[in-house]
Amino acid sequence: MPIKNEENLPLSDSVYYIMISLIQPLHGYAIMQHVDEISQHEIKIGPATLYTSLTKLKESKLIVERDDIIQSDERRKPYMLTPKGIQVLKAEIERRKHMLQQGVSALAKIGENTDG
């Protein structure tokens, strides 16, 4: 079921990957590396896109700076999802799951499966 009344949805692919990276505390550059890794190099996030996305997520209170976590370089700020961020991420995953299921069942009707 599509979630209509959520202001932050849908998330772009980049923001989706940034948010799932932030279930753990990570600073700017580590987010870029993590996204590159888990997307199998499919999603590249440029520095301006990362900075803009983090600014917007902070303003929407979906992520928060974790000043309490000690970093080797204290000027590096790790970010993490907020409870609100987790709710939005859940809603987005539901949305993407629904899209995925529609695709799989559409192909199943003509006897095709998506395993290749």
Partner: protein, 187 residues
């Protein structure tokens, strides 16, 4: 164009005008200067200072930083880790450079984040245009006959200045709006 060249320190300052909607042209010009060995050092209004080095292939990108500069360290570091050298900044504009062989991804990699920045620049342009607009079209029509001649000349000059500002901001707003529309079609 006005060139002042100092041979000893191998520096030169170039006067050049780019409007706020000409960032592509400005980047291209800086890349051409680098190909001739002139690397950008600093910017002050329309004055670009270059240092002479080895001619090389570089890519320049100009970003507009939306937020107050208290997180400047973090902002620069995100770029630095991707290989982008922060060259200088001028009134919110940030100049970055990377050698062409190290370039892998552009500073913006999705339309959504570009649109976000363009929309905020659009809002800023409206805010800056507002005082000129109020002066020219709401206050000014009532003032023409009610002051002495010296003040009238002053107000006249001020009106011309504000009209120019307003026209330039009008062009900027139109260009930003067009760019946003174009990017929104790509999503």
């Amino acid at each position: 164009m006005d060139n002042r060249q100092n041979v000893k320190t191998r520096k030169k300052t170039v006067l050049k005008l780019f409007f706020a909607w000409q960032d592509q042209e400005e980047q291209h010009w800086l890349e051409q200067m680098a190909a001739e060995g002139w690397l950008l050092n600093s910017i002050f209004f329309l004055l670009y200072e270059f240092t002479y080095g080895e001619p090389g292939e570089y890519i320049y990108r100009i970003d507009y930083k939306l937020t107050p500069d208290k997180d400047m360290y973090e902002y620069k570091e995100i770029f630095a880790q991707g290989g982008w050298k922060h060259v200088c900044s001028f009134s919110g504009w940030q100049y970055f450079r990377i050698p062409k062989e190290e370039y892998s991804t552009d500073i913006y990699t999705d339309a959504a984040s570009r649109i976000e920045v363009l929309k905020r620049r659009l809002a800023l342009a409206f805010i800056i245009a507002l005082p000129s607009f109020i002066f020219l079209f709401i206050l000014r029509p009532y003032q023409i006959t009610s002051y002495g001649s010296v003040l009238q000349i002053f107000l006249g000059l001020l009106s011309i200045f504000m009209l120019i500002v307003l026209i330039l901001l009008g062009v900027l707003i139109y260009k930003l709006y067009q760019h946003i529309r174009k990017l929104e079609k790509e999503i």
